[in-house]
């Protein structure tokens, strides 16, 4: 088990290295000279050249890449070109809101989607199944910002149940924190709920056809017991997998959701940084996201052994 985890960690290293190289070269060839932007409107070409030198932008590609990797290995993500703040500090400030949004969305998804999928599989072919699956297909088909605007309009402006925008840290109370996250989580969760509900249904159908379910039924176990204890446990692997993979989906969706609901998270930082070509910030964020993605999937691999004892490494 431990050696498996270690092997997996070692295996992620080349992935991270490729991400790093990719991200760095992506921005190296990007148009727009940060030195010009930095120098501002009234700068002369000599000033720009001076800044370019001081940023090290005039050095060869490999030298720049090398020194960048060297600094990252020492935990230094560099300094933002525009704000003059350390990138790690900027990411740190933004981590809370995005993490909160992700967690609430994740919980919401699991709480809503898994039971929906189970019920749909249980009543496969019935009207309930069709309605649930219909909603699931529909959930895929709506752009996240349209859902966001509709939710904000109905629940915040018209009904005045929830705030329109913003973020309150958890330290200022649970309800203020949650209040701000409900609408964004629903908007962001839409696609995700649809996805997980469908996978759950498919996985459950598979399991419900197995012999041991018939045996359990024959033994006279209750419907609920069969569904949620026996069957769901055995269907868990694909469900957990898709939840993990969906993290990428969530990160992408957060970019839009955060700007619709004015949540000061990493998604907005990403857009701002890309639009301003703030190289160090973009590099830091993409590295972080890849790292999280790799980490989550590693955790999921480990989870398999918990949900499915047949899996041995």
């Amino acid at each position: 088990m431990l050696s498996y985890i270690l092997r997996r960690i070692v295996a992620t290293l080349p992935v991270m290295a490729i991400v790093a190289l990719f991200v760095f070269s992506l921005l190296y060839i990007a148009p727009g000279d940060p030195a010009v932007v930095i120098a501002g409107d009234q700068a002369s070409p000599e000033d720009v050249e001076r800044i370019r030198q001081s940023l090290g932008l005039d050095r060869p590609f490999l030298v720049q890449f090398g020194s960048w990797v060297w600094r990252i290995l020492h935990g230094d993500l560099g300094t933002s070109i525009f704000t003059n703040l350390p990138v790690s500090a900027m990411i740190g400030q933004r981590l809370g809101p995005t993490l909160s949004l992700m967690i609430v969305t994740l919980l919401l998804t699991i709480v809503v989607a898994v039971p929906l999928g189970v019920v749909a599989a249980w009543k496969a072919g019935s009207l309930i199944d069709r309605v649930i699956m219909g909603f699931a297909v529909f959930g895929f088909s709506l752009p996240v910002f349209v859902v966001g605007y509709m939710l904000a309009y109905i629940f915040a402006l018209e009904l005045e149940w929830l705030p329109v925008q913003g973020y309150t840290p958890l330290t200022q109370g649970f309800w203020p924190w949650l209040e701000n996250l409900i609408l964004p989580a629903i908007a962001l969760g839409c696609v995700y709920i649809a996805l997980v509900a469908r996978i759950t249904r498919a996985a459950m159908l598979e399991v419900l056809q197995q012999d041991y379910i018939r045996t359990a039924k024959a033994k006279g176990l209750g419907q609920g017991g069969i569904l949620f204890i026996h069957a769901l446990k055995n269907a868990a692997v694909p469900i957990v997998t898709v939840i993990g993979i969906g993290i990428a989906l969530l990160i992408g969706g957060a970019v839009v959701t955060e700007s619709v609901f004015a949540i000061p998270g990493l998604g907005r930082l990403t857009i701002d940084a890309i639009l301003r070509r703030d190289y160090p910030v973009i590099q830091g964020i993409v590295l972080l996201f890849s790292f999280v993605y790799v980490l989550v999937n590693l955790m999921i691999d480990v989870t398999y052994t918990l949900v499915d004892p047949r899996i041995r490494y």
Binding site: P31, V36, D41, Y153, P264
Partner: protein
């Protein structure tokens, strides 16, 4: 009581039961009344008002840093940090004395050496500062409160330069900060202004917080723009950056924010309908839209092609695209200077008036030798103003028979690409849109965009000897009549050579909750004198 308050109350009751806490909601409400939540026009991405010239940086900086002089609502520089000044009869030696009791936010007194360092850094970046620097013999501290600026030649607009509200303003910083390379950002934000910058709470792209500075000693005069007593009536000013205007509008209606600097025109009717919201023109000096052409390459290197654009463009189309259906928000502008200011003129502006003549324009364009080369238009999509103008321009140039190469991009990229002097096919450009605050267009001193000294001019590098000559005569003018005469000639010369094509004059609204009082009109949002009741 609305439903949300009920929900909050319930949650509050729950947490009360859980924690046994008392009166937390009451404290929160008191603090809320002393915190002004403001949505600025743009993100405060950096905070060095000398290094960065965006309006939003200047607006934030005006709270944190004070200036020696301040422009009042009649464009006159008034003493602000300065107690008195003297100038020798030949106009070359200025001696200034600081007010006593001025303090920086870190508790240190404001001394002459701080001023000297600040002015040195400022004069390396500011266009007027550069003019002074070119004449400078020495800038020295005489004693702790007195300093001296010795010039080789007189510079009559000295006080205006030190008090102007155009970016970069001559903000006074502690010496250690002001010694930063003018082309590098400062990393400490300590000033002597009426509010302190809470750096620990700054989240660029999301939030910036300013706290009342208890030791600030305001002047006794009534405040007027950047002059007079800057009395702060709230404890905190929180800037909340909202990238989405629909969200900002909703937040203002819901009372989640108190003041929205620039509501987009189409949303104003909804805000006006709300009985809790006041809406008014924010900056009476408004803005001037600009269609900026590149003088270095065809077709706009030929004055005929530039005049063809002037002849064909409909300022009404541009203005409606920007401000919507509200006709009180725009004016056609047959010239370059801000309407309703002393130097406003329409001399020479006939070509922009009356019915648009597309056929004559096409003919003129053909005479310039234009034969279908692509015209590279840089249009920033993330600024509603440039985006709207870009769409109108694409339509206009198409109608003129031009082959438009429409480069839709963001403001940052326009900012760097417009500096390229290479041909349009090789990273350069033919035209871009921008706009100038009306406050910057009241006279030629702050008006970089009107300068036409070729290589040294602003992007587009216009050359117009007539324009440059009249800029000089304005600087040399001794009285208002002379100034007016010079500006009339300047306006005509600039239109004849088409230094740039003005797309019209437009105003924008600002909107605030009715429980906020003291919001005044000005070239920038002014936070002193603004108070908030619960």
């Amino acid at each position: 009581m609305d439903r949300r308050t009920v929900l909050k109350g319930l949650a509050g009751a729950g947490s009360l039961a859980l924690t046994g806490g008392l009166s937390a909601p009451a404290i929160a409400q008191g603090a809320a009344a002393r915190t002004l939540r403001f949505v600025p026009q743009a993100n405060l991405a950096n905070f060095d008002p000398i290094w960065g010239t965006q309006y939003v940086v200047r607006n934030a900086a005006a709270m944190v840093w004070d200036t020696l002089y301040g422009i009042d609502s009649s464009f006159q520089p008034q003493r602000q940090m300065v107690e008195s000044e003297e100038v020798t009869d030949d106009g070359t030696t200025w001696t200034f004395k600081l007010r006593s009791g001025l303090k920086f936010h870190d508790g240190a007194p404001v001394l002459s050496k701080d001023v000297v360092a600040s002015l040195t850094r400022w004069s390396a970046r500011d266009p007027m500062g550069l003019m002074i620097k070119a004449l400078q013999q020495e800038l020295t501290a005489v004693d702790d409160r007195t300093f001296k600026w010795v010039l080789k030649q007189p510079f009559p607009k000295m006080l205006y330069a030190l008090g102007k509200n155009n970016s970069p303003c001559a903000f006074i910083m502690p010496e250690r900060i002001a010694q930063t390379d003018p082309f590098k950002q400062i990393s400490e934000y300590v000033g002597s202004g009426p509010l302190k910058f809470a750096k620990s709470e700054w989240v660029p792209g999301a939030k910036a917080v300013f706290e009342k500075f208890a030791d600030y000693s305001p002047r006794q005069e009534k405040s007027s723009w950047l002059a007079g007593g800057k009395q702060v009536m709230v404890d905190r000013v929180e800037w909340v950056i909202m990238p989405d205007p629909a969200t900002a509008a909703a937040a203002l209606q819901n009372g989640e924010i108190d003041w929205w600097e620039n509501p987009i025109a189409d949303l104003v009717p909804v805000l006006k309908k709300n009985k809790n919201i006041s809406v008014d023109i924010g900056d009476p000096l408004g803005n001037i839209g600009s269609f900026r052409m590149n003088f270095l390459y065809p077709p706009f290197n030929d004055v005929k092609a530039r005049r063809a654009v002037l002849m064909a463009l409909s300022q009404e189309d541009y203005m409606r695209a920007i401000v919507g259906d509200d006709n009180s928000l725009w004016k056609s502008l047959p010239g370059y200077f801000t309407p309703d200011t002393p130097l406003y003129t329409e001399v020479g502006g006939e070509i922009l008036k009356g019915k648009r003549d597309l056929d004559a324009a096409k003919k003129l364009l053909a005479e310039s030798g234009y034969s279908g080369q692509p015209v590279t238009c840089l249009v920033a999509q993330d600024q509603p103003i440039t985006k709207a103008m870009g769409d109108v321009t694409a339509d206009l140039l198409k109608k003129l028979g031009m082959n438009v190469d429409f480069v839709a991009t963001d403001w940052g990229t326009v900012g760097s690409r417009r500096a390229q002097k290479t041909p349009p096919g090789q990273g350069g450009w033919n035209m871009f849109h921008t706009w100038h605050a009306g406050a910057d267009c009241v006279n030629p001193a702050p008006y970089t965009a009107i300068r036409a000294n070729g290589d040294k001019a602003w992007f587009g590098w216009p050359t117009s000897a007539g324009t440059e000559k009249e800029v000089t005569s304005w600087f040399e003018a001794k009285n208002l009549d002379e100034e007016k005469a010079a500006i009339g000639r300047l306006n005509k010369a600039a239109i004849d050579d088409v230094v740039y094509a003005p797309t019209g004059f437009f105003l924008s609204y600002t909107a605030w909750r009715k429980n906020v009082s003291g919001v005044t009109k000005g070239p920038l949002p002014l936070f002193w004198g603004v108070s908030k009741s619960a």
